[in-house]
């Protein structure tokens, strides 16, 4: 029995590790979609965030040598990834909000573009640095180990699950809570939701629709990109691997739908999706190919979509003008 429990706890901890990058990717996309922009480029954005975040930390370590501070390294990683994602989303915003290009097409293009840019930067750095981009063991710990003291992690049963995760999981929790508060309790959050629901109404009420769309999309893209960096730093072991990230961004897009655009649901949703991602390693059933396991998150998303549209709950719906360009003179 205790054997089973420890297996289960290990699964949860691993699920949290795999879920954390998804949590960032999803939270960023929720913010974007709340402004009515459907940015399908999350995959590309996370790739860019992963490559640039790793690059930033690598060159920081190289410059600072043995005096490198873990705290600064984490900060540099977050900042580089955020900027990469913000820049990519700025392209998206310019194309869809200012030029009113089709959001689906632009998002898909950004997905391909971002993946390519991420791959290029990652590979370029790898070749220049003699075939290997990796972070030293000392700094690695700051990215991967728990920020809590050891005695807390040794609390029987719950200690590991509650206190044994990487610093990014806790940052993600704070971010999810903050985003919930922002969207539901602040004036700016209310106005942002109004823009996503009905830009014409927001415009008539004197809200600057373009500004809200730009800011939400750029900041949201930055947050998503941090998820890419977290993936490289925790799951991929701080090493550039050009196959590492593939598919995570698409899972984040699916997860936004799964958690019905609610930041707090994104927390357990991403842990669940994390578990589904690694189930093929932990729960091996012979003769079932791993590919079948890997489609589980998408199957779950489809089921949730069907269930939610059948219940026809007005609250649990995408923002009403999601994916639509807004132009004041269209009537």
């Amino acid at each position: 029995m205790s054997n089973f429990l420890s297996l289960f706890l290990a699964l949860v901890i691993a699920a949290i590790t795999y879920g954390t990058p998804l949590l960032f990717g999803t939270l960023g996309e929720i913010l974007t979609e709340k402004s009515g922009n459907l940015n399908l480029g999350v995959e590309g954005i996370m790739f860019m965030g992963g490559a640039l975040g790793l690059g930033g930390v690598f060159y920081y370590e190289k410059a600072a040598g043995s005096g490198a501070s873990g705290f600064v390294a984490v900060l540099v990683g977050i900042l580089c990834a955020f900027l990469a994602g913000a820049l990519a989303s700025l392209i998206f915003s310019f194309l869809t909000t200012t030029l009113r290009a089709n959001q689906n097409v632009t998002g898909l293009a950004l997905s391909i573009f971002g993946t390519g840019v991420g791959q290029f930067i990652g590979e370029y750095m790898r070749v220049r640095e003699n075939g290997y981009i990796a972070i030293g063991n000392q700094l690695k710990g700051f990215f991967q180990n728990s920020p809590f003291p050891a005695f807390l992690q040794r609390i029987p049963v719950a200690g590991g699950v509650l206190f044994g995760n990487s610093v990014f999981f806790y940052l993600g929790l704070i971010l999810a809570g903050g985003m919930f508060f922002f969207l539901n309790r602040t004036r700016t959050g209310l106005y942002l939701r109004a823009v996503g629901e009905s830009p014409a109404t927001a415009d008539a009420a004197g809200i600057n629709v373009e500004r809200y769309k730009y800011l939400a999309t750029v900041i949201g893209g930055g947050i998503s990109a941090v998820g890419g960096m977290v993936y490289i730093m925790t799951i991929a072991g701080c090493v550039w691997n050009h196959e590492g990230l593939s598919g995570v961004g698409w899972l984040a897009v699916a997860l936004v739908i799964f958690c019905m655009w609610r930041p707090l649901s994104a927390i357990w949703g991403s842990v669940l999706f994390g578990a589904l991602m690694i189930l093929y390693l932990r729960l091996v059933i012979p003769f079932i190919p791993t590919q079948l396991y890997k489609i589980l998150p998408y199957v779950v998303t489809v089921i949730v979509l069907i269930a939610s549209s059948m219940r026809n709950n007005k609250e649990k719906q995408p923002p009403a003008s999601l994916g639509l360009a807004y132009f004041r003179e269209d009537r």
Partner: protein, 511 residues
């Protein structure tokens, strides 16, 4: 009131859209504590004028004064700053928000969003004027009248002293209308200036202090409600008959072609759009359909062509020299094949009937795509037809492949009407066929319709301009609120007679 304070004054306001003059030198004056009705037919420029007060449009000429001061209103925000609030016909509300959230939207108050304080203020306003809404209720749970109340409270919350309501009663039940009027009277007593845009005469008489009348973009005059009567207002609204000299020959022996018996149609929510409509359309005759917008014209045409389900009644169609049959229950394709053609020109022209990104040829093919052999479509015949329409109707376009979306409105309409006529129908229905067209093009369309009539086709012409209806048609069917309020002989009827039928069933209600 001994010393009335002038809330708004308009002097010489003119607004043009391209070549169309929507408002032509309009003067208007409204004091505090007064209700002004802005009366006029569709397209007379009422909404355009009020949109200039609320900051949607900017006047080309003229000056607006608020409280005696000249002002320039360039955006809805400016309008709010001058205490002007407009309640549009189509509500601008976010469905998943509560009433309070919608009301505070866009306000630049600093600090944290205090829903409770805002809700208290909303409740305050509601109590003062007798509104009945729950500030915490979501919009999607509300009735139309509650949504309207939210819009009114939204305007009052922003401190509006001048309220403009665009056809506020169009979607309300009589009981809700009475309630709204009580609220408006309470606001009037509170010293607010109120403008309501309407074309319902009995409401004008019941509610307003003054009536300003517009006709075809021109200001006709303002009268005190107490000193006028519905007949006098109708005369002002429709004006004196204008002679247009449309050629109107008589067809020798018209025979019944389409007989509608007791037709009733319900919309998705079970509201009667048409109620017990009966009439006969004769071959060799133009039957005009008059009525205020939304009186069931669209539903009537769609029901005949099989696009709108009929709940009750029969549509008996008798093609020349063949046996009569009932069209109810047939598919649009079957009705089309039987020879009933519809050239419907909706508000957005391209919405129904033409594909904007296709050229003339492509649009001709929308009617003939079933012809041709195997999987390939026949392009040659449609192209020949397109060429013919291009030449005959003098359509201005570089080629028959040029996207119709990029043609001017008049040319689009020529393509649409030309195609329907080319299918040699025995019933031809048009709605708003000359909307937005210049005089010459309008006459081309009139002549086309008359030509069809002389071939023995039953033409049904839904129009807005009573002068045209009186000179073009042989008989005129008047709809009011989905019912037939009368059928008159166009050669003998007067404009006033039709105007009264349009606003009152059988000339009785509200008189």
């Amino acid at each position: 009131m001994s010393d009335p304070v002038c809330a708004i004054e308009l002097r010489g306001i003119t607004k043009r859209f391209g070549e169309v003059v929507a408002n032509d030198g309009i003067d208007l004056q409204l004091n505090r504590g007064e209700i002004l009705s802005l009366l006029g037919e569709n397209g007379s420029g009422k909404t355009t004028l009020m949109n200039m007060l609320s900051g949607i449009y900017f006047p080309d000429e003229g000056q607006i004064f608020v409280n005696g001061q000249p002002v320039s209103i360039r955006s809805p925000r400016d309008a709010f700053a001058h205490g002007i609030g407009m309640i549009h016909q189509h509500y601008k509300l976010v469905d998943v928000f509560t009433a309070t959230e919608n009301i505070v939207l866009g306000l630049e108050e600093g600090g944290k969003l205090d829903v409770r304080a805002a809700g208290a203020k909303v409740r305050d306003i509601c109590e003062r004027y007798g509104f009945d809404i729950d500030p915490a209720q979501k919009i999607y749970d509300m009735s139309v009248s509650q949504k309207q109340t939210v819009e009114i409270v939204k305007v009052l919350y922003r401190g509006a002293e001048i309220l403009i309501l665009d056809e506020p009663t169009a979607v309300l039940t009589p009981q809700e209308t009475d309630k709204l009027f009580d609220v408006l009277r309470a606001m009037k007593a509170d010293g607010k200036a109120i403008v309501i845009i309407t074309h319902k005469l009995h409401e004008v008489m019941a509610l307003s202090d003054k009536v300003a009348v517009l006709r075809k973009g021109k200001y006709i005059g303002t009268v005190n409600t107490a000193e006028t009567n519905p007949q006098a207002l109708t005369d002002m609204m429709v004006g004196h008959a204008v002679t247009l000299n449309i050629h109107r020959p008589r067809y020798e022996n018209p025979a019944p072609r389409l007989e509608v018996r007791n037709l009733t149609c319900l919309d998705g929510e079970g509201v009667k759009k048409l109620s017990g409509v009966s009439f006969t359309a004769m071959g060799g005759e133009i039957l005009g359909v008059a009525g205020i917008a939304g009186s069931g014209q669209r539903e009537l045409l769609e029901a005949i062509s099989g696009l709108y389900p009929a709940a009750e009644g029969e549509i008996i169609y008798t093609p020349e020299g063949r046996d009569p049959s009932d069209l109810v229950g047939k598919t649009p394709m079957q009705i089309k094949k039987a020879g009933v053609a519809m050239a419907f020109v909706p508000e957005d022209r391209l919405g129904m009937g033409l594909v904007g990104s296709m050229g003339m040829t492509g649009n001709m093919m929308l009617r003939s795509w079933r012809k041709g052999k195997g999987v390939f479509v026949n392009r040659r015949d449609p192209n020949a037809l397109a060429m013919e329409i291009w030449k005959e109707l003098e359509v201005v376009t570089p080629s028959t492949e040029f996207p119709v979306r990029r043609m001017s409105g008049g040319n689009v309409q020529k393509v649409l009407v030309g195609r329907e006529i080319a299918s040699a129908p025995s019933v031809l229905m048009t709605a708003y066929a000359v909307r937005g067209l210049d005089i010459n093009t309008s006459y081309t369309i009139y002549n086309l319709l008359t030509e069809q009539k002389m071939k023995g086709v039953a033409v049904i012409y839904v129009g807005e301009d009573l002068d045209v209806l009186l000179e073009l048609c042989d008989r005129i069917l008047v709809l009011c609120g989905g019912q037939v309020s009368g059928v008159v002989d166009a050669r003998a009827a007067t404009k006033e007679q039709i105007g009264l039928l349009m606003t009152r069933l059988g000339g009785k209600e509200g008189a």
